[in-house]
């Protein structure tokens, strides 16, 4: 976990954008899905998650709105924008390239 956490931290924005590609969602649910998808191995601290939301919002990659959630309760939902989708695609491509490079650099089977 110690090695991967640092690597994952660099991809916080992409991870969040990925969740929003599935549809609008709110902070707690997003984090929970991330935890479930990693078998409980990884999840964001609230502060990290919200700093990322604010960063993405400022960059115009996501938007936020208050949604009703039962009587008297409201909840802030996040939604990906077209620019966000574009960034997500680009980030995924970047990662594929990086991964291919890394695989080539750290693989010693063939030598």
């Amino acid at each position: 976990m110690s090695i991967s956490a640092d690597t994952l931290r660099g991809h916080t924005d992409t991870i969040i954008l990925t969740q929003l590609m599935r549809g609008d969602n709110y902070g707690y649910e997003i984090n929970k899905t991330i935890q479930q998808r990693t078998g409980g191995q990884y999840g964001f601290k609230e502060a990290t998650l919200y700093t990322a939301f604010k960063r993405l919002e400022a960059a115009g990659l996501i938007t936020a709105y208050w949604g009703e959630d039962g009587p008297g309760a409201r909840r802030r939902y996040y939604s990906i924008t077209d620019a966000g989708r574009e960034t997500w695609r680009k980030n995924c491509q970047d990662w594929q390239n990086t991964r291919a490079l890394l695989d080539a650099l750290i693989n010693i089977e063939e030598e």
Partner: protein, 458 residues
């Protein structure tokens, strides 16, 4: 369950207290506390007990520094800054400072109008200093935090050693603004002759302060860690100890990957200021410390203090407890879930906690205590001149000799008022004002929502 939700709101509010009160901040508090509450429900559903589940959920909040920086970067109406240009636009430190100062003003000294005039003068001073320091504009990250009655502005872009402090302090003639130059010192033993103040700032690790009976003894620092930075102010009056002397070691301390306990021995004499900050460690101080100002701040750590004589003890913590025995002086304590237990002879006591209890015994001249769900008990051998106690669901109990009169202003929604003293005035209703003996100019104001109010004789 609403109680737990409230606890999260209070905890989050506390952690974000350094940011000015804007709509953006309130919305962030709403969002964060709601999410933490849902985490708590998850943990509870897994069979965890309430306190464990609460703590574990709160731990998941993580490091709020970046959020504070975000809030500080917002415009006055909470608008998101047009960032994302790769280069950070140069911002005015003066504006940030002004915002920090404003919130600090609101929180701590709402009463003094002339103080605000003085504050404006200070902001101007600060602006001048900044212009002097950054003739080409300021590019860097600024963090502001309010520490009791002082506002600290840390300028991370500047070389270490340049900090300035401004704030409001009666002993320093009201508002003040000053900067201080300091230099690194090596070793573990420092002559104490000119020293007036010691300032220890830690992330992980306990801090113990020992007192050497020789008033001219050296200050001695003991620690296992080599990664401490010790600085001495150029005037030789302030010794500063910080954890993390390099970028990488600061990183490890900050992430909780390294910890070091520090033991500091200082001569037993009257200190101007002793300041200890440890995020995760406890703070212990030998019996009989004398200081004009003792300031201790922790996130989770406790402070226990015995036989201290302080002009003012200021304790601030999220979940730490404060326990003082045989204390002389004034106390200001703020903690979210910790308990405050004070015994001794007090001038002014101001204690606030969200879910902890407050207990004060000995002799108290003036006290102002507030809790959300904790009990407040005050037992004074002399009748206080002024009391202001409030709790939402906790009980308030006052124990006094009853040899002189007082006026009781009380209010409760569903609690009961029970007094051993013959009160004159309406006491059967939800709120009112009643007098004991002649009233004597002493006012006790006590309010609860569901807690009981009890007055006893000692």
């Amino acid at each position: 369950m609403e109680r737990i939700r409230t606890k999260f709101i209070v905890a989050v509010t506390n952690r974000l207290s350094a940011a000015a009160d804007t709509n953006a901040k309130l919305e962030l508090i709403e969002e964060l506390s709601d999410n933490l509450y849902q985490r708590y429900l998850d943990f509870s559903a897994q069979g965890m007990d309430e306190e464990t589940a609460y703590q574990k959920a709160l731990d998941d909040l993580g490091d709020v520094d970046e959020l504070l920086a975000y809030l500080a970067s917002l415009g006055p109406d909470g608008e998101i800054p047009p960032s994302q240009s790769q280069e950070q636009p140069s911002r005015s430190l003066g504006d940030d400072f002004m915002r920090g100062l404003e919130s600090f003003l609101r929180e701590t000294i709402s009463q003094a109008e002339d103080a605000v005039h003085q504050a404006k003068g200070i902001v101007k001073d600060v602006n001048d200093k900044i212009k002097e320091k950054y003739p080409n504009g300021f590019k860097g990250k600024v963090s502001i935090h309010v520490d009791g009655d002082e506002v600290h502005v840390n300028d991370e872009a500047a070389e270490k050693g340049w900090t300035f402090t401004a704030g409001y302090n009666k002993d320093r003639g009201g508002f003040f603004c000053g900067d201080r130059q300091s230099r690194r010192v090596e070793g573990t033993r420092f002559p104490s002759e000119a020293l007036k103040a010691v300032d220890v700032g830690m992330v992980n690790g306990d801090v113990t302060i020992h007192l050497d009976d020789d008033p001219a003894a050296d200050v001695v620092l003991e620690t296992e860690s080599e990664n401490l930075e010790v600085r001495l102010s150029d005037d030789g009056e302030v010794l500063t100890v910080r954890q993390g002397n390099t970028a990488s070691s600061s990183f490890f301390f900050g992430r909780g990957l390294a910890a070091a306990d520090v033991e500091l021995t200082i001569p037993r004499r009257a200190w101007e200021s002793i300041k200890v900050e440890s995020t995760n460690g406890d703070v212990e101080i030998d019996r009989g410390l004398a200081a004009n100002v003792l300031r201790v701040k922790t996130a989770n750590g406790d402070l226990s203090l015995d036989g201290a004589n302080c002009g003012l003890l200021h304790f601030g913590s999220a979940s730490g407890d404060l326990s003082c025995g045989d204390f002389t002086g004034d106390v200001e304590a703020e903690t979210a879930s910790g308990d405050v237990e004070l015994a001794g002879s007090f001038g002014k006591v101001s204690a606030s906690t969200a879910s902890g209890d407050v207990r004060v015994e000995g002799s108290v001249r003036e006290a102002s205590c507030a809790s959300m769900s904790g009990d407040i008990e005050l037992d004074s051998s002399a009748t206080p001149e002024k009391l202001s106690l409030s709790s939402k669901s906790g009980d308030c109990q006052i124990t006094i000799p009853g040899d002189v009169g007082f006026t009781l202003q009380y209010s409760t929604v569903s609690g009961e008022l029970d007094s051993r003293f013959q009160l004159v005035g309406p006491i059967g209703s939800r709120s009112g004002e009643a007098i004991y003996l002649d009233g004597g100019g002493r006012t006790f104001s006590v309010s609860t929502v569901s807690g009981d109010i009890t007055l006893r004789q000692n």
